[in-house]
């Protein structure tokens, strides 16, 4: 009933033969968006090339090679998605949602355990983490549910339905356990609901419930003797409030990241960087890569990266307003919220103002699943942009 109209271009009598750029769809893409995403990937590869030479004995380019391959694959995926009309995903929402939940659940059965949590499948060339791609899938499916449920039930029923749809996969991810990604799912759900027009009063109630839950999890549950969070999770969440000198402590890691960034000063320490080179900062190629940038390239480098993210999110928000249909609006809003949340929490964690939650920095942190998923999300944004431009033009390239 909501079949997307797929219009075929009728041959025009006086058709101008389109050039190569036209055929590739380049004029209809958001160039700034594509370039800022590509620049971030390039910066990531560049940083890894300089900072991780000694990390894997015998293969100085272990991380660089892989990240470059993921980046290329991701950019190809982004381009392919650009050429697909995103509106199709709305029809496939149930399938997408099912696939999302099943793939996350399968990790429990076939998953590869790393550091006590099962998050990914071990494939021949890289380990695939379904919950990363799941972020985009959740946006696509949830936006579809919101559009289709727009006229069913009371407003409260709808709000509760959206929440349940969003929080079910979040709960699955939380059980892996992967607190960070679960929080991203929560942020996506809220962003889609927000753009979808859920009432402020409902958000107020949700906010109050969230505060109550936080208190219950962090204060009441441990006191009663049935802790919900694992010890390390709770420690990470609260340690940024009280840094510590114990190297095995989460607060110590955060303090080291802070020292690393601060020591970069204005122009960075380059190869004289010690904090991120001598293992003081943990996970420097993934969660704490921003600390590497801060120490090596100083305020100039770190501010450049932040500016690229600001550019990315600005373009995403702009696409929200350009979208030709409400589905595109919701999808773009969800992706913008997802990116904003991840960037703020990760960089805030590096700067010592947010808790350690294990959220990667989109496009910068090493990791195929994350890079691919983020570039797929950018591809979806491009698709919305292209469809909007094409509909404005009133004709279609193919």
């Amino acid at each position: 009933m909501y079949a997307t109209r797929t219009r075929r271009a009728r041959p025009e009598p006086f058709a101008v033969h389109p050039g190569i750029a036209e055929r590739l769809g380049l004029p209809y893409m958001d160039g700034t968006l594509a370039l800022s995403a590509a620049a971030l990937v390039a910066f990531s590869v560049f940083t890894l090339a300089q900072a991780t030479k000694q990390d894997v004995p015998g293969s100085p380019y272990y991380y660089v090679d892989r990240q470059a391959i993921y980046g290329v694959l991701g950019i190809v995926s982004m381009y392919l998605l650009t050429r697909i009309d995103y509106s199709r995903f709305r029809e496939l929402r149930v399938g997408i949602y099912t696939f999302l939940c099943v793939s996350i659940s399968l990790v429990f059965v076939f998953g590869f355990a790393a550091r006590g949590s099962r998050r990914s499948f071990e494939l021949p060339f890289f380990s695939f983490q379904p919950s990363e791609l799941g972020k985009v899938l959740l946006v696509l499916a949830l936006a579809g549910f919101v559009i289709d449920g727009a006229r069913n039930g009371s407003e409260w029923q709808r709000t509760v339905r959206y929440l349940c749809l969003g929080l079910f996969p979040a709960a699955l991810v939380f059980l892996q356990p992967d607190l960070g990604t679960a929080l991203v799912y929560g942020a996506i759900t809220l962003a889609v609901m927000y753009v979808g027009g859920v009432r402020w009063t409902h958000f107020a109630v949700i906010g109050a419930a969230f505060v109550a839950l936080t208190v219950a999890v962090l204060v009441v549950a441990p006191a009663v003797g049935t802790p919900v969070l694992k010890g390390y999770q709770e420690q990470r969440l609260t340690s940024f409030l009280h840094p510590s000198a114990d190297p095995s402590d989460a607060g110590y890691q955060q303090n080291q990241a802070k020292i690393a960034i601060g020591s970069g000063e204005k122009t960075g320490r380059g190869d004289r960087a010690t904090q991120t080179r001598l293992d003081f900062v943990p996970e420097r190629h993934t969660d704490f890569i921003f600390a590497v940038i801060g120490e090596r390239y100083g305020f100039i480098g770190a501010a450049l990266v932040l500016s690229l993210y600001a550019l990315l999110i600005w373009r995403a928000l702009r696409i929200v307003t350009l979208s030709k249909n409400s589905y595109g609006t919701l999808v773009a809003g969800g992706i913008a919220g997802m990116l904003l949340f991840q960037v703020f929490v990760n960089v805030g964690m590096n700067l010592g103002i947010m808790p350690i939650t294990g959220i990667p920095l989109p496009l910068m942190s090493y990791g195929g699943s994350s890079v691919l998923a983020t570039l797929v999300a950018v591809g979806v944004l491009q698709s919305i942009h292209m469809q909007a431009r094409l509909s404005q033009k009133g004709r279609f390239a193919w």
């Binding site: 727009a150 753009v195 027009g197 190297p247 020591s263 003081f280 103002i353």
Partner: protein, 622 residues
Amino acid sequence: MYLRSDERGPAVSRRLALRLALFGGFAVTLFAILFLRLWLLQVLDGEKYLAEAKNNRTRSFRTSAPRGEILDREGKVLVANRTSLALQVNPRKLPADSRQRRAELAKLAQLTHSTLPRVRRIMHKELKLAPAAPVTLRQDVGHDLVYYLQENQDRFPGVEVQRVFVRAYPDGTLAAHVLGAVGEINEEELKEPRYKGLQPGDKIGQEGVEDTYDRYLRGRPGLTRIQVDALGEPTPNGRLVSKPPAPGKNLKLTLDGPVQAAGEAAMAERGLPGGFITMDVHTGEILALGSFPTFEPSLFTRPLSQAQVNETYRNPAAPLTDRAIAGQYPTGSTFKLITAIAALESGNLQLDEVIEDPGQFEVGGEVFKNAGEAVNGSVSLVSALEVSSDVFFYNLGYRMWDSGQLQHWAHALGIGRPTGIDLPLVNETLLPSKHWRDQLFKEGGTDRPWSAGDNIQLATGQGDLQTNPLQMAIAYATLGNGGTVVTPHVGKEVTDAAGRVLKEFDPQPRRHVRINPAYRAAILEGLHDAAQNGGGTSFEVFGNFPIPVAGKTGTAQRTGHADQSWYGVLAPYPNPRIVTFVTMEEGGFGAESAAPAARKILEAYFANQLAHKASPEEESEG
């Protein structure tokens, strides 16, 4: 709901526009927070973090420097060093799992004959001072244990064996009180300016000359700075600075080993708590200084067991107290020398004056008797000293009771005031005076003000007087050398490893006192007669001593104790070079305990002369 139609088109409804504007504003706020925080960290506080980062990546390893040796005046070694193996635990390398860590520490405690709570207490204390630094669990571990640990290294992660220097005492307890001990610096001491630059775990001298001359003996630890990674492991080519340790300087003491040994042997032979001192009357160099009971200074080179703690610190005999310099005793008749000087110099006594001694002296209804109920008849100063007539000195005390002249002279000779000796742990002494007692009475500390009886007591070294062999030796030395109040000292010179003298200690005299040579001669004569004339109080002990001496016995009454035995002697007579003072708690008459010990000390000091004197006699006999 504003999502009326799926095909809304590019026009954005007003409600959505508001929401997007808020969304945008929210994003701008979040980015502003990140930028400001970045600015704060990198631009405003950057220098601070850069310093922290530099500090982070380097580790300093200190190699302890051996302390200087301590020698006696002839260069014989009293304190040396030996290397010892110390068992250390590196907290960073202990197992992370608390159960495993506990098991390992428990096993270590068992191997070092300690207990788990004790090990934990040590670690807790040390880590509070220096987090993440290795903690020394036990010093002086045996080779067997070291081999065992090395063979089972994988079972004891974080356990290291470090080579450290500890003090060695070739002569056991010899001069223990003078030498003192070495120990780890504590939290309060770290704050003192004299220990500037030291770190927790560094060793400092804690008593005796180890403390007084610590800055010469201590040396400077070597320092190696290397670059490390986060686990504290050195990085390749990471050596930054390397400074070898500078050993401490050697300290030569004024002590004379054989004299010291003779004194200690004499004290131990009698077995009574007490102290002795032998000092050069001209320079104040202390040739022998000791106290009984004594202690093993090597005890402090390793942690004390509970039994050892009880024996040293909680022992009522207080072996750590140096009674020669920290005792608080009345002196008995040895004080009469001071009374004599005061009376003569203040004009209260003429040299040829004769006083009748009927065996007792009465003043204000109070009767003071001679010791042993003796009746000496007519006595002059010389004979009064010879037979130790109390009544003679009661008279002198009475003559000066209200004028403070006795206190003035005793004070001038160094009684009841700081001596300037280069040893720590000197107790307060007391020279009772009218001012002191009246003040105390006013404050309600005593039941009566100063009276003639108090001064009469003081004239014979009784009553409230509290002094020690050191102060008495200084007073005797002042008479012996004709009026110079010397500064007693045990430090002679600082030398480097090759024996070159770097610094000499020759402290200036405290002050000079004018003593009429005629008075001095008379008093010395009285003391000589007391020691070596037929009726003298210590004739039994010194009568046959081949070298002329001038000595005075003392028998002090202490409430709650039996009489305390004193002996002070200047030798040789009439131009003394040394003074020796001996006291023994509950030793009875002066001639009974203290004088024989003093004779043994003099025998050791004059050993060469005695040998010369003895050999011609043998030849004549042969």
